[in-house]
């Protein structure tokens, strides 16, 4: 195989796929990127057996062919190459010669046959979603994914395709973020799948503001096709918990807040929330909300915000990080905080199909 390619394009292509490269050294082939030179383009593929990514870059291909090369090493070499154009040739023993300006590198690869193929999709359920909507949904939910590996069903985002809606849900058992997207599809297409964190992170790197993404769901696999890239991932097996039951039916109090003002106030106060007993207290009185953090032997921080509040005096404590996460990831100027009492979940809502349920911390 023999091709030439622009350094910038190859670098972009490699950065698209190199995140997925496995760090497990038991299977050396997984540290490699599969390079396939076909008519007019170079295809780049990486996989860690759970997630696989394929990208393509425009290339001048003189001789078609395929090989695999160590992905991280190739990336660091290409990044340092001195000229704008790169010339590569790979012999039958998978020895790659790379020239660019004054540089000449030889890298030993592994045969393409050893590279595990990406999953194929037959009889898959297919959906088309605007990238902008998917990007928005991922941003509004992904921070709530659980990192607790013992709760593996929570180590991803639930994509629930039901009743002409895609509902994306993430929870770590303390807070839950949910986005609904209108989406038309026949009844027979309805399905619930859990997309693992790693695929979510990769997908977030790939989605752009324009265009659509084609989603294909097969047996325990999901694929996303977008912008010349393909992301394939295993699904998390198991049943996602019944998240509907934790969403409070109705609120007793609704407090309307300016998102940025609220976020900044919590952030400032949280400087005085001790690492261990991490909580800020929201104290409501008529027309006012105080946000307070106290660390014994250190000090306390307090912010007062005027709010429309007419109920009786009451306070509730939250983990400040859990309170700030959705505020950071929402674009809206205005948010609503719905509360019931100090032991019941609080809900953050916006004008739009989003909600965030957050369990309080018990005040001792």
């Amino acid at each position: 195989m023999k091709f030439s390619v622009s350094k910038d394009k190859l670098l972009e292509g490699l950065s698209t796929v190199q995140n997925v490269v496995s760090t497990r050294t038991t299977l050396p082939i997984l540290s490699n990127v599969l390079l396939q030179a076909v008519e007019g383009e170079l295809r780049l593929t990486t996989t860690d057996l759970d997630v696989g990514v394929r990208g393509r870059v425009e290339a001048h291909v003189e001789r078609t062919g395929a090989t695999t090369l160590p992905a991280r090493r190739l990336f660091s070499i290409v990044r340092e190459l001195p000229a704008a154009e790169i010339y590569a040739e790979v012999d039958t023993k998978n020895l790659a010669s790379i020239r660019s300006g004054s540089s000449y590198f030889k890298i030993l690869g592994l045969p393409e046959e050893e590279f595990p193929p990406l999953a194929r999709f037959e009889n898959a359920k297919e959906f088309s979603i605007a990238q902008k909507d998917l990007k928005d949904a991922l941003r509004k939910t992904s921070y709530a994914i659980s990192t607790d590996e013992t709760r593996y069903v929570l180590n991803g985002i639930l994509f629930s395709f039901k009743e002409n809606k895609l509902t994306a849900v993430a929870t770590d058992g303390r807070r839950l973020a949910l986005v609904d997207l209108e989406l038309e599809f026949p009844r027979s297409q309805e399905i619930d799948v859990i997309v693992p964190t790693k695929a979510v992170l990769e997908l977030q790197r790939l989605v752009k503001e324009e265009g659509d993404v084609k989603v294909s769901i097969g047996e325990n696999q999901i694929a996303f096709e977008l912008n010349d890239a393909l992301l394939v991932s295993k699904l998390i097996e198991g049943n996602y918990p019944n998240y509907r039951q934790v969403i409070p039916a109705e609120a007793k109090e609704r407090i309307t807040l300016e998102r940025e003002v609220f976020l900044n106030a919590v952030r400032r106060v949280s400087l005085l929330a001790s690492e261990k007993s991490n909580s800020v207290k929201l104290i409501f009185s008529k027309g006012n909300m105080d946000i307070v953090a106290v660390t014994p032997d250190v000090g306390e921080g307090k912010e007062s915000l005027p709010v429309m509040y007419k109920g009786k005096d009451f306070s509730i404590a939250f983990n400040p990080e859990f309170l700030m996460a959705p505020l950071r990831n929402l674009p809206n100027d205005e948010v609503f905080l719905d509360l019931i009492d100090e032991m019941s979940p609080g809900v953050i809502k916006i004008h739009g199909a989003f909600l965030y349920v957050l369990m309080p911390m018990r005040l001792s």
Partner: protein
């Protein structure tokens, strides 16, 4: 800055009450003074110096002790008095310096570097402490004075009974190197026997043993540590308000079948003791470790780190049981166990409870913020309150109360187990 290097003078005291439990008994009952006595019954928990002269030792079966010393008098322990008098002795140290680190019921370190101008030389301070403890409390206390904690502790052992040893920094290695290795901190019977295999009997011999040889014998970490201590290299400072980083309890079982009917109540009992201590100090632990020792005395540990710190008895017991079951499943040939232990680490202070969404996941019962977790917490709190008023035996978990027979009273274990 003071130009004088504090390490060049011997200002660290190690004060250790002599044959503490037995001495207290002799203090409380004058008729026992001068006689060989043992605290305990089935097992000797502590022996007076008079009994020790006959070869009676702590941990020895009562019957064996009687063989060695037919006139031995057995007394049951006065545990509350041990606490009270041990505390009073430490208070005397505190009258001289705030830099006091208590390491158990009957011993403590103190650094007197800062109070020499007030009370005189370390030797004078040590004499004053011994005098006061004898006069005000009525107990003999031995003190070692040295440049490091390790050497001070050794010196107090050498000083016993009822003595004072001051180690001059100029001649400290001469002093140290002539002593037997078992006086060193961290050299128990097993290490002592291993060292004896390569002919190392004194600390001096240990100091001159090549590092690789010790490493091969004892493992890299232990080898290096012992060499440093043998050369009196011990940078540890006095830690006041020592906050333990772990807590634990263990139960020696003799030889018992590795069966549920033994394991369950034992673990419940251990979990009860550990979790109660955690709650008493408003702490909770994120890591649970269990140790299972088999018939041949080799032991295995298993541990689990949790997402949220726990302090509930039932949760700790559940997790410990699960870990022990897993450990036993991995060692199907081991049918007999001789010890079970639970310890907790990654302790968090005054943890505030993050409540959990009722998602109905299987593991909710081991999450302190779940509904079930909250109920367990309330139950524990009720138990704690009742015990505070009416004593430990007043209330408890059924599986614990009726499933155990104990040769060693728990109050005694409590004294020996590290205070949080």
């Amino acid at each position: 800055m003071n130009e004088e290097q504090p390490e060049t003078t011997a200002t660290i005291l190690h004060a250790d009450l002599d044959a503490f439990y037995a001495s207290v008994e002799q203090l409380l009952d004058p008729s026992l003074r001068g006689k060989p006595i043992a605290v305990g019954g089935g097992v000797v928990l502590a022996a007076s110096y008079e009994a020790k002269a006959f070869g009676v030792r702590g941990g020895m079966p009562g019957r064996r002790a009687r063989e060695l010393c037919p006139q031995l008098i057995f007394v049951s322990g006065h545990f509350k008095d041990y606490q009270r008098l041990g505390g009073a002795a430490i208070k005397v140290l505190n009258d001289f310096t705030p830099l006091v680190e208590r390491i158990s019921i009957d011993e403590a370190f103190a650094d007197v570097a800062g109070c020499i101008h007030l009370f005189g030389s370390p030797a004078e301070i040590a004499r004053a402490i011994r005098r006061r403890v004898r006069a005000e409390i009525g107990l003999p206390i031995s003190i070692g004075v040295a440049r490091t904690k390790h050497l001070a502790k050794i010196a107090s052992q050498v000083a016993k009974p009822d003595g004072l040893v001051i180690v001059d920094p100029d001649t400290e290695l001469d002093f140290l190197h002539n002593l037997p290795v078992e006086l060193m901190w961290g050299v128990g019977p097993v290490t002592k026997a291993r060292l004896a295999q390569i002919g190392v009997l004194t600390i001096g011999q240990l100091a001159k043993t090549p590092g690789w040889s010790l490493e091969r014998l004892l493992g890299p970490a232990a080898g290096e540590k012992l060499t440093a201590l043998a050369w009196n290299r011990d940078p540890r400072e006095i830690k006041t308000q020592r906050r333990a980083r772990s807590a634990g309890a263990q139960s020696a079982l003799g030889r018992k079948p590795a069966e549920e009917r033994i394991i369950r109540p034992t673990l419940r009992h251990l979990a009860d003791r550990v979790a109660t201590r955690l709650r008493a100090k408003s702490r909770a632990a994120r890591t649970v470790t269990v140790r299972v020792r088999f018939a041949d005395l080799h032991s295995i540990t298993r541990s689990m780190t949790l997402d949220a710190p726990i302090s509930s008895t039932a949760m700790l017991a559940d997790i410990a049981e699960e870990l022990v079951r897993a450990a036993l499943a991995e060692n199907p040939d081991e049918k007999v166990i001789s010890l079970l232990a639970i310890s907790v680490s990654h302790l968090e202070e005054r943890p505030q409870l993050q409540l959990e969404l009722p998602l109905g996941l299987e593991d909710e019962q081991r999450r302190p913020g779940s509904k079930k977790g909250m109920r367990r917490w309330l139950a524990d709190r009720a138990v704690d309150l009742i015990r505070d008023r009416f004593g430990w035996q007043a209330v408890g978990y059924g599986s614990v109360m009726f499933g155990m027979s104990r040769s060693v009273p728990d109050e005694f274990r409590e004294l020996a187990e590290k205070d949080l």
